[in-house]
């Protein structure tokens, strides 16, 4: 039920999943600092065959005629070749986190656009 006014004139608008390049994560972080361990994993990263991303969710909330962007902290250090199934699992977790934030703001779950309506960016 996106775009429906709820408490004190709060209106929930667009929802989107953001897949953003994670420039801080390194493959060495995943191999316990031992560069000899799984060297193909590390080498393929530095050959640019894959990279790290973070996934978070953003939602536009209209409050007193202003558009506010509410977001989840996101999950970072995800391998870009993890596959759509894993991405969807993370997106579901982020969606639940967003629901928690919105409930604190007095927006019941039923007013939040469905996960299926979210776009990926």
């Amino acid at each position: 039920m996106a775009g429906k006014s709820v408490r004190h004139g709060l209106t929930v608008d667009r929802l989107r999943f953001v897949h953003e390049r994670d420039k801080d994560s390194r493959p060495e972080d995943k191999t316990g600092g031992d560069p000899t361990r799984d060297s193909e994993y590390i080498d393929s990263f530095y050959r640019g065959e894959w990279w790290f991303i973070g996934i978070y969710i953003e939602l536009e909330l209209i409050v007193a005629n202003t558009v506010q962007t509410i977001r989840t902290p996101g999950l970072w250090g995800i391998e870009s070749n993890s596959g759509n199934r894993y991405f969807q699992e993370v997106e579901r977790q982020e969606y639940e986190e967003l629901i928690g934030i919105l409930e604190k703001l007095g927006v019941p779950r039923r007013f939040v656009p469905s996960i299926a309506s979210a776009r990926r960016a």
Partner: protein, 130 residues
């Protein structure tokens, strides 16, 4: 015969914790795309020349607050007013006060307690980022 009274235990109603304000600021930001067409009018000749000399630029004023909701910091902003001459100090301060007032309304709409929100702007919150 005695009947035992059935005791129903229910969870006490809990008040939803209010979002907590971490910081408030009123930003004066560069206006990258100002509408300067009014300077073409004859009565603004002096101002147009001053603008062309770089004596002033254009800025926007926006109030913002960092608010912790569910342990996550969210940035809440006022709509902002743009196209203000950067040397209009008194007017900038007036707009800053109005922007804070708008931000206060937004924050109370999302459940921030007024005890965390002074009724008027503190001049110390004005931050020039030009």
């Amino acid at each position: 015969m005695t009947t035992r009274k059935r005791v129903v235990v229910v969870e006490a109603t809990r008040k939803r914790p209010a979002p907590e304000v971490q910081s408030i600021s009123v930003l004066v930001l560069p206006d990258e795309d100002p509408d300067v067409s009014y300077l073409d009018q004859e009565e603004f000749t002096d101002r147009r020349e001053a603008y062309q000399r770089g004596d002033f630029t254009f800025v926007g004023v926006r109030a913002q607050a960092e608010v912790v909701i569910e342990g996550i910091v969210q940035t809440i902003v006022s709509g902002g007013l743009w196209g203000i001459e950067s040397d209009a100090d008194a007017y900038i301060e007036e707009v800053a006060g109005e922007e804070y007032s708008d931000l206060r309304k937004i924050l109370t709409s999302i459940g921030v307690s007024t005890s965390q929100l002074p009724s008027s702007m503190d001049r110390k919150w004005i931050e020039w980022r030009t």
